[in-house]
C-alpha cells in the first residue's frame, strides 16, 4: 500500500491522470482523529470508491473535498488548486465543477422536481427558460423520471428522490460527481437502477465519480479503483480484483462481511463473567 503505482499483472493502474489529490491530510473532530495523515489520488474520468465501516468519516472526506470542512493540516488539490486555502468566492466557483448526491437526496422541499433540477442552472447561467426546460427534461430522461417532472419531493419514493437528486447533481455537467452512500436504504430494484445509472452516466458524460459506500458488492461491481478506510487510515487500495486478492485480515473482514475480526463484534466491556458475578443493579 502507499506506493505510487501499484501494478497488477504488469498493467499500470489508472493513476497517471489525477484530478483530485489529497496529501498528508489530518482532520480531527473534538478529540477524535477522523483522518490521520492520509494521502490519496483520484483518477480523472473513472469511478473511484471510498469504502470502510460506518463511522470512519467517509462522508467527511466528501465534505473536505467539497470545501465544506477544512482539514487541520495537509492539502486537497483539485487540478492543482488547494481547496482549503480558497476564499469563499473562489470556493463557490470551484464548486460549480462539482455535483454531489447526498445521502438523503437533499431535494429542496419547497420546489417541485423541475425547479429542483433547474435551480443550479438558473443560479449559474443566464440561459433562457426555454433552454432550461430542455436541459431539465434531458437530465430527467437520463435518470428515467421525465414523467415525474411536476411532482413535489414529498410525492417521490426514496429511490426516485435519489434519482432526481442525481439529475440535479449532473445538471451543470460537472467534472466531478460525488455520491454519498448512494445505495443505502434502497430496495434491490432501486439499487440495481442506481448502480446502472452511475456506471452509464460516468461513461456517457465522462465525468469523474467518487462514491462513498459500504455496500461491497454494488461498489465492487462499478468501481475502477477503491480505497478502504479504517480508523483514519487507508488500509487498502487497488482495483476490485486486487482487493479481492488482499489477505490482510481487516480487508478480508470488510470485503467478506464477517461479523467478527479486527473490527470486534463486542463494544469494549469488562469480562462478562466478572460483571455477572459482581451482582447489584445498574445505577
Amino acid at each position: 500500500m502507499g506506493q505510487d503505482k501499484p501494478v497488477v499483472d504488469g498493467k499500470a493502474l489508472p493513476l497517471d491522470d489525477i484530478i483530485v489529490e489529497i496529501r498528508n491530510m489530518t482532520f480531527t473532530r473534538g478529540s477524535r482523529k477522523i483522518f490521520d495523515d492520509i494521502s490519496l489520488k483520484i483518477p480523472r474520468g473513472k469511478v473511484t470508491a471510498i469504502m470502510g465501516p460506518s463511522g470512519t468519516g467517509k462522508t467527511t472526506l466528501l465534505k473536505l473535498i467539497g470545501g465544506q470542512l477544512r482539514p487541520d493540516t495537509g492539502e486537497i488539490l483539485l487540478d492543482g488548486q488547494n481547496i482549503p486555502k480558497l476564499n469563499r468566492k473562489d470556493l463557490f466557483i470551484v464548486r460549480e465543477r462539482m455535483g454531489m448526491l447526498f445521502q438523503s437526496g437533499a431535494l429542496f422541499t419547497d420546489m417541485n422536481v423541475f425547479d429542483n433540477i433547474a435551480f443550479p442552472i438558473r443560479v449559474h447561467t443566464e440561459l433562457p427558460e426555454v433552454m432550461i426546460r430542455d436541459i431539465v427534461l434531458m437530465k430527467l430522461q437520463a435518470v428515467g423520471l421525465r414523467g415525474a417532472v411536476s411532482l413535489m419531493p414529498s410525492e417521490l419514493s426514496g429511490g426516485m428522490a435519489r434519482r432526481v437528486a442525481l439529475a440535479r447533481a449532473i445538471s451543470l455537467d460537472p467534472d466531478i460527481v460525488m455520491y454519498d452512500e448512494p445505495f443505502t436504504g434502497q430496495d434491490p430494484i432501486a439499487m440495481g437502477v442506481l448502480v446502472n445509472l452511475i456506471k452509464r452516466l460516468n461513461q456517457a458524460l465522462g465525468h469523474t465519480s467518487i462514491i462513498v459506500s459500504h455496500d461491497i458488492q454494488e461498489t465492487l461491481s462499478i468501481a475502477d479503483y477503491i480505497y478502504v478506510l479504517s480508523d483514519g487510515k487507508i488500509i487498502a487500495e487497488g482495483t476490485p480484483e486486487m482487493l479481492k486478492q488482499q489477505d490482510s485480515e481487516q480487508v478480508r473482514q470488510f470485503v467478506d462481511g464477517l461479523p467478527d475480526g479486527p473490527v470486534p463484534f463486542h463494544y469494549p466491556a469488562p469480562d462478562l463473567l466478572d460483571e455477572l458475578m459482581a451482582g447489584g443493579v445498574f445505577k
Binding site: 469563499r88 463557490f92 462539482m98 454531489m100 447526498f102 437533499a106 429542496f108
Partner: protein
C-alpha cells in the same frame, strides 16, 4: 469536586461565548453578504408571506381581545373616580407604548420564530443547506438573509395592526357596550397620545423586537443538532430565549425612551 465545578463552569461560559460569536457571524454574513436585489425580492415576498401574513390571524384575534379586556378593566377602575372618559387614553397609551410591541413579539416568537427554527433545522437535517453550498449558492444569502429581512419588516407592521385592532376593540366595549360618549373616547385619546413620543417609540420597539426574535430563531435553526430531537430542542429554545430577550429589552428600551434613569 470544587475544581471540577469550576472547570465545568468555565467550559460552559466558553461555549456560550462561542455560540454568541457564531450567532453574530450568521448576522454579519447574511446582512453584509446582501443578496442581489433581483434575486432577493421574490424570496423576500415569500418569507413575508410565511412570517407576516400567516401570523396575521393570531395577531388580529389577540389584539381584539386584549383591547376589549383593557376597555372593560379600564372602565371598571376609572368609573370609581368618575373619569371613565379617560378609558380611551389609557387603552391607547398602554397599547402603543407596551402591549402592542411586547405581546406581538411574544406571539411572533411563538408563531413565526418557532416555525423559522424548525424549517431551517429541518433543511440542515435533510442536508438541503449543505446541498445549496455544494451547488455554489451561499445559504446565508439564499436562506438566512430573506428571513431576517422579512422579520424586520413584518414585526412593526404586525405591531401596528395589533395596536389599531386593540384600540378599536376597546372602543367597541367602552363606547358601544358601556356607553361612553364616543367623542370623549377619541378626543381624550388624541389629546394624550403624541405621535412622536408614543407611536414612533412603540414602532422602534417593534423593530428591535423583530430583529431580536428573528435573529434568535434563525441562529437556533442554523446551529441546531440536525436530528429530530435537536430540532425540537432548538425550537423550544427559540421561544424561551426570544421571549426572555424581548421582555428584557423592553425594560431597557422603556427606560431609555420614557424614563429618566
Amino acid at each position: 469536586m470544587i475544581l471540577d465545578n469550576i472547570q465545568r463552569l468555565g467550559h460552559r461560559t466558553l461555549s456560550k461565548c462561542a455560540a454568541f460569536g457564531r450567532s453574530g457571524q450568521i448576522l454579519f454574513q447574511s446582512i453584509v453578504a446582501r443578496p442581489a436585489p433581483m434575486m432577493m425580492l421574490p424570496l423576500l415576498i415569500k418569507q413575508i408571506y410565511f412570517i407576516g401574513v400567516l401570523s396575521l390571524v393570531i395577531i388580529v384575534v389577540s389584539g381584539a381581545f386584549i383591547g376589549m379586556v383593557l376597555g372593560l378593566q379600564g372602565y371598571t377602575i376609572l368609573v370609581d373616580y368618575g373619569s371613565e372618559q379617560a378609558v380611551g387614553q389609557m387603552v391607547a397609551l398602554s397599547l402603543l407604548r407596551e402591549l402592542a410591541p411586547v405581546v406581538t413579539a411574544l406571539l411572533f416568537a411563538g408563531r413565526a420564530g418557532s416555525a423559522l427554527t424548525a424549517e431551517i433545522g429541518l433543511m440542515k437535517a435533510t442536508e438541503q443547506l449543505a446541498s445549496l453550498e455544494m451547488i455554489g449558492v451561499d445559504p446565508y444569502r439564499r436562506i438566512i438573509a430573506p428571513r431576517l429581512y422579512a422579520g424586520f419588516i413584518c414585526m412593526p407592521l404586525l405591531s401596528m395592526i395589533f395596536a389599531v385592532v386593540g384600540i378599536w376593540g376597546a372602543a367597541v366595549v367602552a363606547v358601544d357596550w358601556l356607553g361612553i360618549y364616543s367623542g370623549a373616547y377619541w378626543a381624550n385619546m388624541q389629546q394624550a397620545v403624541d405621535f412622536r413620543e408614543d407611536v414612533i417609540n412603540g414602532l422602534i420597539k417593534a423593530v428591535v423586537f423583530g430583529f431580536i426574535v428573528t435573529w434568535i430563531a434563525v441562529y437556533q435553526g442554523y446551529d441546531c443538532v440536525p436530528t429530530s430531537e435537536g430540532i425540537s430542542q432548538a425550537t423550544t429554545r427559540t421561544v424561551v430565549y426570544a421571549s426572555l430577550a424581548v421582555l428584557g429589552f423592553d425594560f431597557v428600551l422603556t427606560a431609555l425612551m420614557f424614563g429618566d434613569l
